[in-house]
Symmetry: none
Subunit: 227 residues, 4 copies
């Protein structure tokens, strides 16, 4: 009975190896320029074997992407695994997202390059489902935090948790893309500190949604629980 299990394990391991290889190539070249030949070679497998484990190049891309989302999810969970107040958690999430952006820049880029609709339309439904599942889990987490902040009287009660989340998220993305693509231009030529701006903009948005009471004790709220 151990045989079946071992086979399962090996199969899983093989899938891992393939993703590892695909990751190396996609990170380096992006989607279109990457070739299945390169990935196969990098995985030290035949091209045919790749297709034994993943239905298409697009699926493989998504599989790598999912790994990135998984990482992000874990980072987010850890960011709120404290007994701090929701506002603090919200800032923690912002920091976690920024850390993800900085530490896992390759995944971040893959996610954005995903915009190419051609990839989107070729992905198998299984992969799609996994994507959506993970997406949902991440959003649930974020929205949950904001809701708690509203319920706790820290954010104004006319704040829609999802709306607030989307607003902060898209604001972050706008600046992150800037940092990713043009940091040299803005920082070097114009002396901007884009990272600080990102934090500032988010802080402004959050403050604008806070109740008067919360604003009054803002420093307390956003100071790490244990210095």
């Amino acid at each position: 009975m151990g045989i079946k299990e071992r086979k399962e394990r090996e199969k899983g391991a093989r899938r891992e190896e393939i993703i590892n290889a695909a990751e190396r190539i996609f990170f380096e070249k992006g989607f279109a320029p990457a070739t299945m030949d390169e990935i196969a070679e990098s995985a030290e497998l035949s091209k045919g074997t790749l297709y034994l484990y993943y239905k298409s190049k697009e699926d493989l891309y998504i599989a790598v992407l999912l790994r990135g989302s998984e990482i992000m999810y874990e980072m987010f969970k850890k960011a709120i695994a404290t007994d701090e107040n929701p506002i603090r958690h919200l800032f923690n999430l912002g920091e976690a997202y920024f850390a993800y952006f900085q530490e896992q820049r390759n995944y971040f880029r893959m996610y954005y390059f995903l915009e190419n609709p051609r990839i989107h339309s070729q992905v198998s439904s299984e992969m799609m489902e996994q994507c959506e599942l993970l997406d949902t889990r991440i959003w649930d987490l974020v929205v949950g935090i904001i809701r708690r902040a509203v319920e706790g009287g820290l954010l104004r009660d006319d704040v829609d948790p999802l709306e607030a989340g989307v607003m902060l998220w898209s604001n972050s993305n706008g600046l992150m893309r800037l940092i990713d693509r043009d940091e040299w231009a803005w920082t070097g030529k114009h002396g901007l500190n884009l990272e600080a701006m990102l934090r500032k903009a988010n802080k402004l948005l959050v403050q604008a949604m806070m109740t008067e009471k919360a604003k009054a004790s803002f420093d307390d709220l956003v100071t790490p629980a244990r210095p």
Copy 2:
């Protein structure tokens, strides 16, 4: 000497025709799926002639993009060609950008697809220069408005005009991309009004940068000068 001028004029006209054709194709298909054959056919020119006027497919793409920036620049200029106060002008610029996003969606998309690093790296230096020139003109305009708002005591004097501009711009972009790509998901499934959110977020950011005095007369500042 008239001959030389005529030749110049004709050359310019031919370049226009080519961009017109390229635009039609790129708008319809995006970068990669568009082919030089299609563009040549649409321009009623031979493929070889295309290369006589533009060095590469990438250059052609950028040429179309530049036209979009030109349009944006004109819209921006018009948006501040009133004798309103700078805060009002700032909101006008925001609206102009949103109008550009809505009315010139094709250019907006082309601009973002530009992120693909492959395109970036193949563009000729002449094109690059033109891009930067136009970029500068647009940013000068935006930054100028914000500077005047600071100088006029409407925005706090610790506000860096460029920083503020970039912040508002990237915040807008983040939400615009969302609208462009996933509006159906966020609006349909979750009932969000992304357009309203965009305006709200920008307003919050601007308010957060306003002086107390300006905030007090906010409604006056942002009400159109003459109804």
Copy 3:
């Protein structure tokens, strides 16, 4: 000693199952588009097992074909298992072949697709032998009938039984292929009744080979024995 027999029986049964599956797939898709994977799946066996029982895809194709020939042979035997006269038997065979064509169209088509020389050259010698064996049995049967007709003074004695058989058979095939492939064209566009033509042509050929005596009593000869 029972063990060996059981094993034999099981082996035979397994071969049957495989042919059943191969048949389903080949009938549906033809030779080239059918894949060993599909056949294996349809047989609920592993691909490797297929190769344990049949040397190649081609062999499997021939194995299915043989089953078709077997059916044809049985139909032919039944067609002459009456105590009618040889001319009647000859027409019975013609009808049997047509019935085979109509009822077992899939086998008929497989047989003709066999013309592809690629298949031919990959078949194992064992399969080839079986093919020839069955072929011989069928031809013996046909030739036997014609010989009896000659010996019985119904067909002219300058008629070579094998030659006559081949003539009738190839004439039938020519029209059957037409029916199978292009019936809609000839029937629909030109109003031909290809089935009637097939019968007519064969009848003409047989009549042309009959003795004067037999021709005189043609109607008696070809009227079913018992109405």
Copy 4:
């Protein structure tokens, strides 16, 4: 003005060269095993150029086939370009078809291999039209001869010209395929003269359709006009 013509001529010549090369490869290997690479190499052209002149492998196959049909058409026209009687013309056509079969065996085979429906469905409409045009011309010729024979009182007036033509043609095809595939078996092993049988069967069919008057003077009718 000569330039345009020369270009036209060269383009035509290039198409010819490509067909020549395709012919060599298709004759040797058949459709599926032939590769565009081989054809390109044989044509001393790049693969891309092939696709400049022909839309697909299938189209190229049909183009070669059309050449075969053209040859057949010319042979048929020549076969009846005498002032002989229609019955004689009919036999001439039979001989011409057999000559085509013998001398242009490769084209004959290509035509039959065409049965593969996969080829059929991929052919461009222009090619299809050309095929049908040529087909029609050939059939018009055959049917015209038979009609004249009926009108001249040589064939019975219940003979449908098209039906008679199809009957003779499919009968011929049945035997030709046999000759092409299995001559060695039937001739070598069983001593049949398939070629003679083909002539005999057709003769029997024609005779069976002749009027009594014509049958009486059969020898006169089918003896070449000028020995």
